[in-house]
Symmetry: C2
Subunit: 345 residues, 2 copies
């Protein structure tokens, strides 16, 4: 069982379960060793991580709560997340050294994947490799499944997206425009609002932090009301949207997961509008729609190659930068999809 070359393996470890907003000190850098060969007969795969994804849902795995759709991290263990990686060694028939893969991996330089079936082989094609954790990964697919399958959009409808420049929101808005909708986005800085209007093709956008009254802002952008709300934030924005929904409107509930830990939320007060306007409000996870993943990849690659879609990334360099990048998600520090470049391709 023993033997073989070893390499240094830097890792980001969760120190313990956390309450409130994540801090950099909730995580720490450790340096271990990784064997460069897999055990024969193990069907496992050793990968070198190139890009790691920082996603808000990961906050949900940092608390001691076992009723969620995904179990918590183990304190003291390496943080797990989506990544793009290169196969170093493989005992699995589907993978060989040099293959590029995406899937769940560790926040470390090298990861031994026991269940290689969850890895997806990827081609580099004409699309940046890192897009496989963003545009072509879980966030992009969340946008795709949520918009087409949950929002039931129709051409000409009025669509609102919160956290609109984020990993999910930026694609929702562009898909909605391609679908013939009128699209407005909200974000938290002037720079993001400019991106929405000038780069991502939104019809209108506003900085929610500069609006004294969200209801007034929404009525200004949607004098006729909102047909579809792609909700990435919950809270006060959701409450303001509820009173601006049109008859038979739809709300796709996507991004409140990061609020799970906030025990003293303000609460949503305007749910009676669901009745008066006959609104459907639906929570979803992209993982329920995986049968659509192949068509999603084809369609998005096609749009991208035709120049109909762009994707904004916020790239941090080095595994050491991962904790700060992750923490930054919760103050809106990232502009676009937050990615960590661990190693060059």
């Amino acid at each position: 069982m023993e033997g073989g070359e070893q390499a240094q393996n830097k890792q980001i470890v969760l120190r313990g379960f956390i309450v409130g907003t994540p801090k950099e000190t909730d995580m720490e850098l450790k340096v271990g060793k990784a064997k460069m060969k897999v055990v024969e007969g193990s069907r496992s795969v050793l990968i070198k991580n190139l890009y790691l994804s920082c996603d808000p849902y990961m906050r949900g795995r940092m608390r001691e709560y076992y009723q969620s759709y995904i179990p918590p991290f183990l304190p003291g263990s390496v943080i797990e997340g989506f990544g793009v990686s290169k196969v170093v060694d493989s005992d699995h028939p589907n993978f060989k050294a040099g293959d590029l893969v995406s899937g769940l991996t560790g926040w470390e330089e090298f990861t031994l994947i026991a269940k290689a079936e969850q890895l997806r082989k990827i081609q580099s094609e004409d699309i940046p490799l890192s897009y496989h954790v963003g545009l072509l990964g879980m966030p992009g697919f969340t946008a795709y499944a949520g918009f087409y399958e949950v929002c039931s959009p129709k051409k000409g409808e009025y669509v609102f997206v919160s956290a609109a420049s984020g990993a999910v929101g930026q694609l929702v808005g562009q898909l909605a425009k391609l679908h013939g909708c009128y699209v407005v986005g909200s974000a938290g800085t002037k720079q993001k609002v400019d991106l929405l209007k000038n780069k991502l093709g939104f019809d209108e956008a506003f900085n929610y932090k500069e609006e004294p009254d969200l209801d007034v802002a929404l009525k200004r952008c949607f004098p006729q009301g909102i047909d579809v709300y792609f909700d990435n934030v919950g809270g006060a924005m959701l409450d303001a949207v509820l009173v601006n929904m049109r008859l038979h409107g739809r709300i796709a509930v996507c991004g409140m997961v990061s609020q799970q830990s906030i025990s003293d939320t303000e609460g949503i007060h305007n749910l009676f509008m669901l009745i008066t306007r006959r609104v459907r409000m639906q929570g979803f996870l992209q993982s329920d729609y995986l049968h659509l993943f192949p068509q999603f990849v084809d369609k998005i690659i096609d749009y991208y190659k035709q120049g109909k879609i762009v994707y904004i990334e916020d790239m941090n360099d080095g595994l050491e930068s991962a904790p700060a990048a992750f923490v930054g998600l919760f103050s809106g520090k990232n502009i676009g999809k937050q990615v960590i470049r661990v190693a060059s391709e």
Copy 2:
């Protein structure tokens, strides 16, 4: 234009827009006159009201709010609601004296209906006439449309109904049982809980006023969780249900309309469960499903005649009793569907 016999016409008038919980003094009895003949060429119909319906949604029409699905009452005018009536005189080709009808009418002895098209001719058959404002009327149809069209129920699923002995809830529970579901109801008195278990066929029931913790009560009744929640109340019960929903559960939002006027509601805190459990929450109004009304009537009459469905009414005698009966809805005084008998058939 003038001439013809006149009769005394007692009326219940809304004194002014109200805030908070309705009080008897928000309404007053007036005695006017009604002509016993309709004007020729008017296509109007004069009806004598036999039964009037007290429904919580009417509270929504007592406030000065014009954005709802139905306009407010005019202060100083006769209250409007569903009723069962007999035609006294008609200038409309579809109706003749002696016909029994149901539809929107006034809280008075005689009502002149200008738009007779909204009246529905009814047969007395073997079903109590008053059921046409309950089991076979708007509340019954709300239960029917909400359960079959919004809840998407499947045999063997776990169904929870709040305000379960009320005009809507009691039918939802019985339809769910006939559909092969496990059904639990909540109500606010021991007597109502007994009715649910012993007369209405619910598998289990509890008095929410005697439960120190609604979450504990729900977990006791649904150790495996809730697939379908027919929500007649909103508020704290909805919040407790949210954390007990099963994967891909559905919540039909029906009864928060009466809370519209409560400006300082506590708020709903557990909406993130919509995501983790992928729950669809949908507001609805029966009026969106009127194409199903004929099949509803056939099916419910059939069930009733086969003894598969019962319906509990709370019958008050005399128009004078209407304000107290209406006010009683908001403290749960009524047991079953609240009806006012204005005149004998």
